[in-house]
Amino acid sequence: MLILECPCCGVSGEETEFHAGGEAHLKRHSVGSTDDQFEEYLFMRENPHGVHFERWRHNNGCGKWFHAARCTTTLEVFGTYCAQTYEPPKEIKDAISARRPGWSWRNFS
């Protein structure tokens, strides 16, 4: 059972305080998008063996959403960061690079 630190309230809590919300950094496609774009947005997901970016909500806590960069194989948590962003901040990317040199995920690396 994971421990995550909520970057919004600073609480480090066990997984039962949180709610997993699937993949992070999805781009919303709506009216005007092609069928392929919309399908991609709704259904297509990364399923990596390694570095992954996820959304979590501190539902039994401050109620805020945040993002976590995590290794799906070892469950190592590289960091958590605020959800109001389109891409992982530099310090998170650096933290991942320090542990997983040469990583890439979608168009991030």
């Binding site: 600073g10 609480v11 305080e17 039994n60 806590g61």
Partner: protein, 188 residues
Amino acid sequence: MFEAVSALQGASFNAGIAEVRELGLRGMITLRGDLTDKKLIKAVKGIAGRIPEPRTVALKDDDGAAWMSPDELLLMVPHADVLSTIETLNASLKGTHFLAANVSDARAVFEVFGPHAREVMAKLAPVDFSPDAFKMGMFRRSRLAQVPAAFWMNEEDAFTVVCFRSVAEYMFDLLSIAAQAGSEVDAL
């Protein structure tokens, strides 16, 4: 005005390793807004004395404010003063983006006290309640068994627990069972 009653009307349990009792109605206001906004800070100071730091509660007797999230405070005032306090807030924050909602009757409030109070809490919440970790002034939102709750210490070995009114009975039963006779852990 009709008498307002709390969910369990002051139920109590004192046959175990800590005492549990439902406290009466408490005036509670959810205030959402920019906690760095000068107007808001001034308004809250007028009501609660000061703005609590993250993860803390600023109380004088039973009144004050608790830090709920980066954009939310829980203001606590006498139950009879809630509506006037909201009016004051609405007036003083006019023109800023905020939300003040009366949640006094949507909550149930409990006290758990006695030398084993920390243990009773540690049986239900995934939180470190050892004296080195959980200190006076700290305010924590988490879960107690299967329901969300917020809690803090009023004084050493006395916890206040706030939960939704609808689960007041569950919470009371839960705390009473966790405080059952013979269940001392002696590990905190």
